[in-house]
């Protein structure tokens, strides 16, 4: 039976993206320079896809504390995440075999039905 994970809500600020750019060495200016983002036809600054994916780690942390380790993780980026938007990270966990969890996650812009990112994570714990 699928168990819901505790969701995380996060408003994406320009400071977040500058910090993530520095921490990840991804200095594509569409993630921090509004003028350049608009020159590329974007509505404004957008989040790094890997920032959005990385936020999912927060909903997985309670499982890590319980001794689970991530073995596989796949994500599909479905829509852009503009700066200033509030993201809701939610997921469900299923124990497929003893000690193995399959987690389905979605990251949605608050107020939008269609997720910006969907993903599947497999975790193992020694039994």
């Amino acid at each position: 039976m699928a168990t819901p994970l505790t969701p995380v809500t996060h408003r994406v600020t320009q400071t977040d993206l500058v910090r993530y750019a520095g921490a990840s060495h991804d200095f594509n200016p569409i993630h921090f320079d509004e003028t350049i983002a608009r020159q590329h036809g974007l509505p404004g600054i957008i989040a790094h896809g890997m920032f959005t994916m990385g936020l999912i780690t927060r909903v997985l942390e309670p499982l890590l504390v319980q001794g689970y380790r991530i073995t596989e993780w796949s994500s599909r980026f479905r829509t852009m995440v503009p700066v200033g938007q509030t993201l809701v990270v939610s997921g469900t966990s299923d124990e497929t075999t003893l000690g193995t969890l399959r987690v389905s996650v979605a990251v949605s812009l608050e107020g939008h039905a269609k997720p910006a990112l969907t993903g599947t994570i497999t975790l193992h714990r020694a039994t």
Binding site: H40, G49, M53, T57, V65, R69, E72, S74, R76
Partner: protein, 140 residues
């Protein structure tokens, strides 16, 4: 834009894993798992030393793939997957290569899949990262 043949592989690039880089990355994502921050707590959790968050692997890239020339703009990161082996641990020396594994064209869109593999100083497999990038020729 130029995409070299499938199988074209970068030279290996060795990355030394530093505690400060792990801390900055974990803090940038608002993470709190103690093994990302404290050697003592990492050891209590069964690790040898501080480890990196899973998506930290995206910061570990090979040298440039010979002949690969992508536009700066108009690129979309479409899909990303990871498989993980030994944890990325502070003081590791991780050797990383990147390879072109698939390309396909659909109308104005070009799909490029790159696979990046990291191996540590003990010759143990650490991660495989698979990234699908979409270039839109009409946006260039």
């Amino acid at each position: 834009m130029n995409i070299p043949p499938i199988g074209t592989t970068s030279d290996p690039k060795v990355h030394t894993i530093e505690a400060g880089a792990i801390r900055n990355f974990a803090e940038a994502l608002g993470l709190q798992f103690p093994a990302y921050f404290s050697k003592v707590q990492a050891q209590d959790l069964g690790f040898q030393d501080v480890i990196a968050p899973p998506t930290f692997a995206i910061t570990l890239q090979g040298h440039a793939v010979p002949g690969l020339d992508l536009p700066k703009a108009g690129l979309i990161h479409g899909e990303q997957s990871f498989k993980f082996g030994d944890p990325i641990t502070v003081h590791d020396e991780i050797s990383v290569v990147t390879q072109v594994i698939e390309t396909k064209a659909r109308g104005p869109l070009t799909f490029l899949t790159l696979e990046t593999v990291g191996t540590n100083q003990h010759l143990r497999w650490v991660f495989t990262s698979t990234s699908t990038i979409i270039a839109n020729q009409e946006a260039l």
